[in-house]
Symmetry: C2
Subunit: 193 residues, 2 copies
DNA sequence: ATTATCTATAGATCTATAGATAATGC
DNA sequence: ATTATCTATAGATCTATAGATAATGC
């Protein structure tokens, strides 16, 4: 009860981090203030000294979730390997069963698609930015040899990645889910590498 | 107040139909009993003579929404034209601005992805079935000439369609949204036709 | 003295139910 | 008489606030 400013900052950070995971698992409506604070080890009353409102927290949690995913992808990218090899690793990581199964730490562009469609500009603006940087990143990694329109290929690749991961998660049948990941990954690599 | 059985059947049908639209627009959590009944022109009290619970309605609404989309796609398919032409029309229709902008009557496989991931088996089972039939439909339309693995190509095509439509909706920027639709459609057609 | 967190609760929203009302249909 | 719908409300859940409590930090 009643601690230092440093401790408040740590509490604040833990609330956002937990909310960034929860929002990917349960959606924008799935974050409940009392439950969130309990998970962090606090009571719900203190919440409003950290955030002006639930909406404000959700907006910040979405931004954080988008950045989390972005830096995870960039981590794969930072390498001296040739672009084609990096692109292959990116596709494999994005469409892996591990990525599919760990919603809370996963790419928010996939985890939050449907939610963002129904969300306000406060969540759509950072989402749009993140989509833009993924497109640029993919376009840079795609070889310009065959067809010169790298940007179009980058867009199509992002659509495939997001669609395949989302479908693999939604589907009830483990065999079909795995098949969706495998087929989409191998088709993407066949087209781009 | 208090009418015939025929009228009850019509009320029942209108409730499901309205819920099937609302669920695509607002998600599984976005359907509120009182609001729904008001839209249909009834009061909320009568709802429980039509459905055992809200969950029961949502499950039925999702099934209906999936079938709606399925029959819309089949309508494009029923034609004497060659498979390649039908496939082209399907891609153009799915990735059209009209489809993007009319959530309530759109394909539920795209509109409900994130929601279904968080939903119970009651919604995931019919969703999985619908994904299965789309894959089969696409596989049949894909020419077996170049590469014999039509099923893998069907899966990859569905992923692209769902991902592109979802991203085009989520994004804040109209120009980027159009670009996503155009680029994904032309890449898909370049690969498959 | 200040402030981070806690306890308690008001107020709004939503699902579900009970009993009343006004039609239908044998 | 039966029943489809309506009115009224109980009960649960959730956001937000007010005031109390127990630490920090000058």
């Amino acid at each position: 009860m009643g601690h230092s400013q440093k401790e408040k900052d740590r509490s604040h950070e833990r609330i956002i981090q937990e909310a960034a995971a929860k929002v990917r698992e349960a959606g924008l409506d799935g974050v409940a203030v009392a439950e969130l604070m309990q998970t962090v080890g606090l009571t719900h009353g203190g919440f409003y000294r950290h955030f002006e409102s639930r909406d404000e927290l959700v907006a910040q949690a979405v931004e954080r979730a988008l950045k989390d995913g972005g830096s995870a992808v960039l981590a794969v990218t930072h390498s001296e390997a040739p672009a084609a090899e990096i692109l292959g690793r990116l596709i494999d990581a994005y469409l892996s069963e591990a990525h599919r199964d760990n919603l809370g730490t996963s790419c928010a562009v996939s985890a939050l698609v449907s939610d963002v469609v129904r969300g306000g500009d406060r969540v759509r603006a950072p989402y749009t930015d993140q989509v833009g940087s993924y497109i640029e990143l993919l376009a840079k990694l795609i070889a310009p040899t065959r067809n010169k329109d790298r940007r179009a290929k980058g867009i199509a690749a992002l659509s495939s990645l997001v669609g395949a991961l989302s479908l693999a998660r939604a589907v009830n049948d483990p065999a079909l889910s795995r098949e969706i990941l495998k087929a989409s990954a191998s088709e993407l690599k066949r087209q781009l590498l």
